[in-house]
């Protein structure tokens, strides 16, 4: 009886959020719609990153690199090879996943902190490469003139351009979240969860640890590539400067805040952090305020958020709230027991 009530609450809450987010674009003006789109794109990237960190236990500091690869692939295909945009998007997504497969094959054998540095290095290399191959990518000055996304014969442009992009993003976010949910509940998903709790245990239970880690890594990259492609079509001009290391950190913060491995958490995290960043930007800019203030505020808040969440709410915001609600209702939490070793 109790379990049924709890599931209903989560169900209704999720439904309400879905409907609310579906209706929100109607009430937004153009610049707010742009924020909506960026939040959505971040949510897609973070959905993958959250899966990677929550289940494969790997820290990636280079998701922005996959975001960039997706963006540049889509841009190059459409602008230079006149490939239709939807097809380019599909290819970009698949290609980014493939790159991750290749890169991850040697690297995922390493411990988490090696991968953290490795993904950072990967991002720096990708950014350099983009700058180097000027003929293909436009180099450091970037690539303008990327055509907009066309669904069939209909190109998304005109007065309602951002509005339609907002809905495209909504659909993709929903799709990605559904995919994650099905993945987590499937047999490989259970294997993944075993992996998250104990690699040795999962290995002993016959879970193909390396293969799963690789697949999750590739999937998270594919998500990022997909989002990157949409980004390219949306902003129509990309440059290496659009994908700094700080963006990877931002994705990381969103994942951590939302809750690693939590399906809704990635979206919640993306929304909270992005809006927070916007708030800081507007607080920091103004007449008479030092030019560096937005940067100072952003860095300070990034740092503070990361540290505080990891110390006090390591499971993330959403699971923490869910837990609090459960305990308030005095329903015994069905959360997994904290993994404690004899020497804690």
């Amino acid at each position: 009886m109790n379990v049924l009530r709890r599931r209903s609450l989560a169900f209704w809450a999720g439904l309400a959020a879905a409907v609310a987010s579906l209706l929100t674009p109607i009430a937004l003006d153009d610049s707010q719609l742009t924020v909506y789109v960026f939040i959505g794109l971040s949510a897609i990237v973070v959905a993958g990153l959250s899966l990677l960190m929550g289940f494969a236990g790997q820290v990636s500091l280079g998701q922005a690199a996959f975001y960039a690869i997706g963006a540049y692939t889509a841009a190059i295909l459409t602008r230079m090879l006149n490939v239709p945009t939807l097809l380019s998007l599909a290819i970009a997504t698949a290609f980014t996943g493939a790159v991750a497969m290749v890169v991850g094959l040697p690297l995922l054998r390493l411990r988490g902190h090696y991968l953290a540095f490795a993904t950072l290095a990967f991002q720096l290399i990708v950014l350099s490469a983009i700058g180097e191959f000027r003929g293909l990518t436009g180099g450091d000055t970037g690539m303008p003139g990327i055509p907009t996304l066309s669904i069939g014969p209909l190109a998304i442009q005109g007065q309602y351009r951002t509005f339609i992009y907002a809905y495209v993003t909504w659909v993709l976010v929903a799709a990605v979240m559904l995919l994650n949910r099905n993945l987590v509940r499937s047999r490989p998903g259970r294997g993944l969860r075993a992996l998250a709790t104990s690699e040795a245990g999962a290995l002993a239970a016959g879970v193909p640890v390396v293969r799963y880690k690789l697949q999750v890594f590739a999937l998270s990259a594919a998500y990022a590539g997909l989002a990157g492609g949409i980004y390219a079509f949306f902003v129509s001009y990309i440059a290496p400067g659009s994908f700094p290391v700080l963006l990877s950190v931002q994705f990381l913060i969103m994942a951590v805040v939302g809750g690693l491995g939590s399906i809704w958490g990635s979206t919640v995290g993306a929304t909270v952090v992005y809006l927070l960043v916007q708030l800081l930007q507007s607080l920091g800019t103004g007449p008479g305020l030092p030019l560096q203030l937005p940067a100072i505020l952003s860095y300070a808040v990034y740092g503070l958020v990361l540290v505080l969440i990891m110390l006090f709410l390591p499971q993330g915001l959403l699971p923490a709230i869910q837990g609090w609600i459960s305990s308030q209702r005095a329903i015994s939490a069905v959360e997994a027991p904290a993994r404690s070793t004899p020497l804690d």
Partner: protein, 287 residues
Amino acid sequence: MTLFLQYALSGVATGCTFALVATGFVVIYRVSRVVNFAQGIFAVIAGMATSSLLSRGVPHGLAEALAVVLAALVGLVVGIIALGRRGTPPLASLIITLGLGIGSYAAIIMAWGDQPVSFTGLPGLARAGGVSIQYQFLLVVVVTAITFGLLSLFFDHTYLGKGLTACSSNPYAARLVGIDVHRMGLLAFTLGGALGGLAGVLITPLQPVSFDSDVGIAINGFAAAIFGGLLRPGTALVGALVLGVAEALVAGYYRASFESGVALVVMLGLMVWQASRRSPAVEEEMV
């Protein structure tokens, strides 16, 4: 040939600074199993602090020493926060050090602004056999050699140093014997801070630092550290020198902009090579 020697010697000098940063990584990792993403920040803070102190009339030598002490204190603070409560898993600590590194950007910009900072080190050139090398380079090498000597004395011949080694060798047994592993972790972080600070003090006269220089410094230090699997400082020293010289040669003979790429490629190459030697299953701890 003399051009080669010039490049090589300057590479040795920068390699020495990498070695100091790398040893910071190693000391902290050995004792606490945490990879300290803020390792580069210690160098930046020390470099900038030295510049400020010098501009206020504090004499050379004292300014650098105070800056290193400051970096050590910052290391201690990072350690306190990163090691957190008992039972904080190492990956969480890694993210915390990352957060602290980014947070300190804010502090650094507030204190010193966002522009690069430098100061003059030991002026003048030494000449021998057609090769001229800045005195600052020589200073770097000498100080690094002395530091490594002191470190080996500390770890191999003092009781406290052996206690630290015990923590990394067998943390359970260390606890049984009465060693406060948490406190040793803090000591390791303080030492790591001092080492990073020393690196910063030595490198800033050669290469101006700004608030985000820590990434490059950390990458170089980490690349050197993994030569020894993050566990052996001697091997890290060798790796650091190789890296420094390689970068100097690449910058000199090819293009300066490729210099940073060397560290990245070396690091990734090393990681891939080390990974292929391990079994793909769960990694065992190397002691």
